[in-house]
């Protein structure tokens, strides 16, 4: 099994969610993150003092899937999260040894 992690623009979450749902991906976990990369952040001013905020709000999406589905899931997220601007983010996939569903204790592909 694979864990697909995507760091994307917050505004694209809804789009990603819909396209994954449309293609039968049954679940995902989402959390907030801040990203820092070539696209620098923005400047804020408080009583004349300038602050450079290097980190930009991102959303992290994690999807567990079977090995076969991995490529499709990556492709789906990639397309539905793309805006064409800098800072669109990254998607990566890591190997997963074992998955367990807490409610039932099932493991492996059945737990997805």
């Amino acid at each position: 099994m694979k864990l697909i992690t995507a760091i994307v623009q917050p505004g694209t979450l809804q789009n990603v969610q819909i396209s994954l749902a449309q293609h039968g991906v049954s679940g995902m976990t989402v959390s907030e993150a801040s990203g820092y990369a070539r696209t620098r952040g923005h400047t804020e001013v408080y009583r004349g003092a300038e602050y450079t905020i290097d980190f930009i709000s991102k959303v992290r999406i994690e999807v567990l899937c079977s090995d076969d589905e991995a490529a499709d899931v990556i492709e789906l997220i990639c397309q539905s999260a793309r805006t064409g601007h800098m800072g669109d983010g990254k998607i990566w996939s890591t190997p997963v040894d074992q998955v367990v569903r807490v409610r039932t204790g099932e493991s492996g592909d059945e737990a997805l």
Binding site: Q9, P10, Q14, Q22, S57, D72
Partner: protein, 460 residues
């Protein structure tokens, strides 16, 4: 009497005080709201706010009349006398030369009735059905508060010829409502907490205040409003109001310091929640006494409340009642301290006769005070219990455990208090956006309608 005889200065002060007292209920909503967890703050605030709606309406309909209508044996005012407040437009009340319109007094007292009801809600944080609270508010205002306020606040000959028995027969002194409001609401809170039962996780799960800036906002506005509560009860802008104003400052200040000192010694730290609580406890205690003690007496009363109230906080754990926001320790105990303080620190010159124990007046006034407090305590305790039980076994008082775990805001109001996230975790009208899974990998649309690339044309 014609409208020209009124004293505009006194009227201005009571009008303003009415507004100040009304502000105390939203203030209470913030004070209470900040103390609960973020999943029940809206419900907590709504219990106060809806009391403004409910009591605001029934006060106009029959509440004022039940409280200040001509008394039936000192027990209850004639509910038809001022039904709908009709026919009161041109009436003035008060001493010659210091008269104010009856309607201004009715407005001032409306705000008292509202906050008395709202105070009770602190005990049942996190778990009461909103509908049950609405029913409780109507019944409790009608069956408990209006009678008790009648007993204490309705003096013979002021609004109607005959008033309530505590004011006129027992002659207990309760200047601005320590007995009628704080003891009354405090005991009702205890009873309601017992009937509704403990929150899931009480004593084992942490339930710390979710927003102490909101608590402090509530305390600050309560103090501000309380100047109207107390000094407005002089029903005029005069020397008495000035004395009461000073005492309201001194009592709360001393109680805050007292509470912080107890915390520093007992817990090792003086907390901001302690400061806010001390302010409120001091205000509660000085309320009945503010017109009969000197500024030094007010310091003493405040200090007493500031020390005694925090020492009673542990009772709820010892005796196992889940008075979530400590209405008992602050309002019942504080109200008792203040009510009895009249019999201890009252000065002859101010009470006009009956001085307190420490000012050479013996035990007489102390006895009257205790009697008055007891009367309200027992009556309110019993009737509040009956109302709570009646609701429990009819419409039910409490939300389900699932709803309680998820948060009463969501369950009862379908709202969440804060959404500070940059991520919009929701879908607008699900039918529109969340499509049923189709065949795998059917063509998908790129993120063109994402927030930052939407190119929809603005209208016009």
């Amino acid at each position: 009497m014609t409208i020209l005889e009124l004293n505009a200065g006194d009227t201005a002060w009571v009008l303003m005080s009415a507004g100040l007292v009304l502000l105390m209920t939203p203030a209470l909503a913030f004070f209470y709201g900040g103390m609960v967890r973020s999943k029940s703050v809206l419900n907590m605030m709504m219990m106060s706010v809806v009391s403004m709606g409910i009591v605001g309406v029934i006060w106009v309909l029959y509440g004022f009349s039940m409280t200040f209508g001509n008394s039936w044996n000192g027990i209850i005012g004639n509910p038809t006398e001022f039904l709908g407040l009709q026919g009161t437009f041109d009436t003035l009340i008060g001493a010659e030369g210091n008269q104010i319109p009856l309607l201004v007094f009715a407005g001032f007292q409306a705000a008292f009735a509202i906050i008395a009801v709202a105070l009770v809600s602190g005990a049942v944080a996190d778990r009461m059905k909103f509908g049950a609270w609405v029913a409780f508010a109507v019944l409790w205002a009608t069956l408990v508060y209006f009678p008790a306020a009648h007993w204490v606040f309705a003096f013979d000959g002021v609004v109607a010829e005959k008033g309530g028995f505590i004011a006129n027969q027992i002659k207990a002194f309760d200047f601005a409502g320590g007995t009628a409001i704080h003891i009354n609401a405090g005991i009702a809170a205890l009873v309601l907490a017992l009937v509704i039962g403990r929150r899931v996780g009480f004593g084992t799960k942490p339930m710390r205040p979710h927003n102490l800036t909101l608590v402090m906002l509530g305390a600050g506005l309560l103090w501000f409003g309380w100047f109207g509560f107390n000094a407005g009860s002089a029903l005029g802008a005069n020397g008495l109001a000035g004395m009461v104003w000073i005492n309201t400052l001194a009592g709360a200040a001393a109680a805050m310091l007292g509470w912080l000192l107890v915390e520093r010694i007992r817990d090792g730290h003086a907390t901001s929640l302690g400061a806010a609580s001390g302010i409120v406890a001091g205000l509660v205690a000085i309320t009945p006494a503010c017109a009969v003690v000197s500024p030094l007496g007010a310091l003493a009363v405040g200090l007493l409340a500031g020390v005694i109230c925090p020492l009673t906080l542990g009772f709820k754990v010892r005796f196992g009642y889940d008075d979530a926001l400590d209405v008992v320790a602050v309002h019942l105990v504080g109200g008792l301290v203040g009510t009895l303080a009249v019999g201890l620190f009252g000065t002859q010159e101010l009470t006009g006769g009956a001085a307190g124990l420490f000012y050479g007046g013996g035990l007489e006034q102390l006895g009257r005070q205790a009697l008055g407090a007891l009367a309200v305590l027992i009556y309110s305790g019993i009737v509040s219990l009956l109302i709570a039980l009646a609701l429990k076994y009819t419409i039910g008082l409490r939300v389900g455990t699932d709803a309680e775990a998820q948060g009463v805001d969501l369950a009862e109001h379908a709202e969440q208090s804060y959404d500070l996230s940059r991520v919009g975790y929701s879908a607008y009208r699900v039918a529109q956006t969340l499509v049923v899974p189709a065949s795998p990998l059917s063509p998908i649309t790129p993120a063109r309608n994402a927030d930052n690339v939407d190119t929809k044309e603005p209208v016009a």
